[in-house]
């Protein structure tokens, strides 16, 4: 074991264990409550609106690296492109990373196949633009003006393009849902989007939409981590005030 990693490793094992236990429990059909998340309830509304108006849906991950945000967003893309396939509404996906481009091609294609609409899949609508932020932005400005999407879904690791894309989407009257775990970009989504998924709300999106045991398991493991940290922080700082640093010492083991 590397130095100072023991307690963290124990946490990781516990996290995985809770994960596993709740995957099993949910699979056995035990009730799994989950609180409402407005931004995710709005996904159907967004696709429906595009269908009514005969406009495409635009989906983007932002320009960040392929990280947890992207993996979480894949779940949403899979769901939304399935809905689009069923409703005969076009979905335009724009990408900034080569590997994410390839993954999204697979996901959108699979969603169309699963919806029984393999023939309607348009490869040219899953587009690689550039991993250069400003080039990506300028291309999206153009796409918004010329193809006029009726909904703009921005879920992933966003950087400064968050402000620009959401304001440009606002100008063409698109219904907008923004969500990212990159905390710093959330205020921009809050300012310019109709719905915002704040931080962790994006990561539970897959579970919220799909309610599959696997994804529910992750939610319980995350909640376990949150409860644990709430207790550790509260108890730790009270003890620290009394001059006892045992919690911190334990965590640094």
């Amino acid at each position: 074991m590397a130095k100072g990693m023991t307690s963290m490793f124990c946490f990781l094992v516990a996290f995985a264990a809770v994960f596993w236990v709740f995957v099993r429990r949910t699979a056995q059909g035990l009730p799994s409550p989950i609180r409402r998340i407005g931004g995710l309830d709005a996904l159907d509304e967004a696709v429906g609106r595009c269908t009514e108006m005969g406009r495409p849906v635009h989906y983007t991950f932002g320009i960040g690296e392929m990280d947890g945000n992207v993996l979480a967003s894949f779940d949403v893309l899979s769901y939304v492109s399935g809905q689009c396939a069923r409703m005969d509404t076009d979905i335009i996906v724009t990408n900034a990373l080569g590997e994410v481009q390839m993954m999204t091609e697979e996901i959108v294609r699979a969603a169309y196949v699963n919806a029984g609409k393999a023939d309607s899949y348009q490869p040219d609508n899953v587009r690689f633009i550039s991993n250069v932020q400003t080039a990506y932005m300028s291309a999206i400005l153009g796409i918004f003006q010329r193809e006029r999407p009726g909904a703009n879904l921005m879920l992933g690791p966003f950087f400064a393009e968050s402000m620009m894309l959401s304001e440009a989407g606002q100008q063409i009257g698109a219904i907008q849902i923004g969500g990212t775990g990159r905390t710093i970009q959330i205020p921009f989504f809050v300012a310019a989007c109709d719905y915002t998924l704040i931080g962790d709300e994006l990561f539970v999106a897959g579970a919220y939409i799909g309610r599959k045991p696997l994804q529910m398991g992750a939610i319980y493991a995350q909640d376990f981590g949150k409860w644990l940290s709430l207790v550790l922080m509260a108890v730790g700082s009270v003890l620290a005030t009394m001059g006892i640093n045992s919690v911190v010492t334990l965590l640094k083991k």
């Binding site: 074991m1 590397a2 990693m5 963290m8 490793f9 996290f15 995985a16 994960f19 947890g68 945000n69 993996l71 979480a72 894949f74 779940d75 899979s78 990408n95 990373l97 080569g98 590997e99 481009q101 390839m102 993954m103 294609r109 699979a110 699963n114 040219d124 587009r127 690689f128 633009i129 550039s130 991993n131 250069v132 400003t134 080039a135 932005m137 300028s138 400005l141 400064a160 402000m163 620009m164 959401s166 606002q170 775990g181 905390t183 809050v190 300012a191 310019a192 931080g199 962790d200 994006l202 990561f203 539970v204 696997l214 994804q215 992750a218 493991a221 995350q222 981590g225 949150k226 940290s229």
Partner: protein, 208 residues
């Protein structure tokens, strides 16, 4: 064959993810070496994937021209600059004076100007968002305006206290709330990643 098609990608993901994650905690040399190699491989593969991305861009614009889509003439512009600059950079190198000249006098100003459009967009976004329609929006508005005044000299000239209040907002409520959001998001990222590392995530690559 079915295994190779739909399960192998997932198992390779499990191996890759588990090795990289465990190498953070455990010290055996083999694990450390593998983790290092996997990291190097991914960097190289990312370079391959990016280059392929340029190919995708080329294909889409070639199709636009072929199908004579709206304003397809501009696709010629894109293809001209794409191919021309690749040829220049690959055969004459990035240090060729013409390559640098284009970078300094076209690429850089274009990029900086596109980015600066953010300034205009944020001013209209704030104009709309900072309106006290309800209590939450009012809280957003007050915090925003105080910080705006605290950040510039002119606010300091109106009332020196703005800078102090801004410092407090940034260091206490802002920093604490951001920490809370970050910690929750970190657990979310961990949950999503574990789904891949434990091989439970079959949706994305298993289709067809």
């Amino acid at each position: 064959m079915k295994f190779v098609r739909s399960s192998l990608p997932i198992y390779l993901g499990v191996v890759g993810g588990a090795v990289v994650l465990l190498a953070y905690f455990l010290t055996p040399k083999l694990l450390q070496d593998l983790s290092k190699w996997f990291g190097e491989w991914r960097m190289t593969l990312a370079a391959f994937a990016l280059t392929l991305g340029a190919g995708n861009l080329l294909r889409i614009h070639a199709n636009r021209i072929r199908l004579k889509r709206e304003s397809f003439a501009f696709s010629y512009v894109l293809i001209f600059f794409l191919i021309g600059y690749i040829v220049l950079g690959t055969f004459w190198g990035r240090t060729h004076p013409l390559y640098s000249y284009i970078f300094d006098n076209a690429y850089q100003p274009l990029s900086a100007t596109v980015f600066s459009i953010n300034a205009f967009y944020i001013s209209t976004a704030c104009y709309r968002a900072f309106r006290a329609r309800n209590l939450q929006a009012a809280v957003l508005l007050i915090a925003g305006v105080v910080v705006m005044l605290g950040k510039v000299g002119i606010g300091y000239a109106i009332w020196p206290g703005f800078a102090t209040v801004t410092d407090w907002i940034m260091n206490v409520p802002n920093s604490a709330a951001m920490r809370g959001i970050n910690m929750a998001a970190a657990l979310g990222a961990l949950g999503v990643s574990l789904r891949v590392i434990l091989g439970l995530e079959r949706g994305h690559l298993g289709g067809e």
